[in-house]
Amino acid sequence: MSYINKMSVLFIAEITKLINLLKNYPLDVIGNTVSFIIAITAIIFGVYKFSNVDNVENLIIYPLLLALIGTPSSSLREDIEIGTFEQVFNSNYTIAEILICRSLISFITSFFPMTIILILVRIFINTNTFLSPFTILLTLLNGISIGMILVGLTMIYRKVGSLLNLVYLLSLIEFVIPSKYISSGRCIFEALIPFSSVILMGMSTNITFTTLFIAIFNTLFWSFLGYILYKSMYNYARKSGKLGRY
């Protein structure tokens, strides 16, 4: 069986499991979706009113990134807390494969609330849409990398939800605060703060060589860091016995 087929089977298994689990909590699913739509729409309108970015619709990348980053660590923690982690670990897939697959499912399912957000924004704001496949690719790489760093931290420290919030807040600074206030340090911010450059690139109708370079640099930097940090934290967790404790 080819690797793609193997991963497709895993993808279907994970989606089926997710649907079956969510069926148990219909109200929670509805509540989460509605609050997600309200929060993101409010952020988009806020940025449109007070910031000076020229394509506010592309803030819809932001909820996709949230899904990509948060899912792997939260699903790992859930498996550890429920107690299913040992069986998941002892499977024919690596932990990274399973968690990235869950992350992608979350990314795809986020398209539903995102479409509603897009419709709301379209009704009230007249902007040009620009969401290239290239931006989505960078978003995926960036989100998965940060997500896997949090997975490594979850293996060692279990609860890292507050760190996730920190990542969200740092990235929000970039596009919520008008650039005139942080223009001097903007380049450094964009280059180093995870995925901020990708969002800002998507939000611009005029992509310059500099913004493109910074976005690619930012993505490669976090992808590399994500791989190295995940690997070393995973090995440390196995060596120290933390992975086996729950």
């Binding site: 069986m1 193997k6 298994a13 499991k17 148990n24 069986q87 002892n90 499977s91 060596k239 992975l243």
Partner: protein, 297 residues
């Protein structure tokens, strides 16, 4: 199916946690294939750690572990494919899914990608473990014994060569313990190797080909004194003489013939007797008056 060679080869294994907590020191051991191997030791002695080292969940500080000739550190994915695990706790299930959905999900993770083949294997295992009556219900409604059987089935998915069972009898009643024992023996006949960690000396004595005890940071072959069969004497009153006839052959002495009070002396691993006695108590054919160790008499 006779299989030769070693399923486990451990060379100079050292493992410790934190400061001065050494679990294994220079442990070298070889465990033959196609055998049932028992691990016994007090709480915290390292039985579960040993099982987790074999599965690769915990890495050794130094030394080498080979499972069926595969190095756990270097060929980790290949090792995972030939191992089935039944962990200690019975929380290892998605409790708000049905037993069947749990099995289906873990079957895919264990490499049963083809749906038709997967369903066939699952149905066979469900029938072998007599789980038809509850497998479609949600796990949250299961008794401890049902969960234990479900976890045992999950451990068997993917045709493992080595089965690691951590306290497999936890929460099982007598009848289910016998069922698990029979299934283990059946799979060993097909070529499976089994490592069982348990507190239950009697179960290990009954089922294992080789028994190890964890002593002085090493695994040593358990001596017969570690597994003395405890003899008990049970005093009971016969309420229905129909069952009294079948129990009579075990009878040790008649205490009061008029009142129908007898005593029976038995070994804890005398499962034929235990099954009969359990049935008799369940059907209210006899009433147990007291159970005392043989030495007390």
């Amino acid at each position: 199916m006779a299989v030769t060679g070693n399923i486990i080869s451990v060379k100079n294994l050292c493992k410790g946690f934190a400061k001065n907590v050494i679990i294994f020191e220079n442990l070298s051991i070889e465990m033959p294939k196609n055998k049932i191997i028992g691990l016994i030791g007090p709480n915290g002695s390292g039985k579960t750690t040993f099982i987790k080292l074999l599965s690769g969940m915990i890495l050794p500080d130094s030394g080498e572990i080979l499972v069926d000739g595969l190095n756990v550190q270097k060929e980790f994915l290949a090792v995972k494919r030939i191992i089935g695990i039944m962990p200690d706790t019975n929380r290892n299930l998605y409790w708000n899914l049905s037993g069947y959905k749990n099995i289906e999900y873990f079957a895919i993770l264990k490499g049963l990608y083809n749906k038709r083949e997967r369903n066939k294997i699952i149905e066979e295992l469900i029938s072998e473990l007599n789980m038809e009556s509850f497998v479609y219900k949600k796990v949250e409604s299961y008794s401890k014994g049902m969960k234990q059987r479900l976890m045992f089935l999950i451990a068997l998915l993917g045709s493992p060569k080595l089965l690691l069972l951590d306290e497999p009898l936890n929460g099982l009643d007598f009848e289910n313990s016998l069922l698990i024992k029979d299934i283990i023996l059946k799979f060993v006949k097909k070529g499976l190797s089994v490592i069982i960690s348990s507190h239950d000396k009697y179960f290990l004595e009954e089922i294992c080909d080789i028994k190890y005890i964890i002593k002085d940071k090493k695994l040593v072959i358990a001596s017969p004194t570690n597994f003395v069969s405890k003899e008990l004497r049970v005093y009971f009153k016969i309420l229905d003489y129909a069952i009294g006839e079948s129990l009579k052959k075990y009878c040790y002495e008649v205490i009061d013939n008029k009142k129908g009070i007898y005593s029976i002396q038995f070994k804890m691993n005398d499962y034929d007797f235990l099954y009969l006695a359990a049935e008799a108590v369940k059907n209210k054919k006899v009433e147990i008056l007291s159970i005392v160790p043989k030495e007390d008499k």
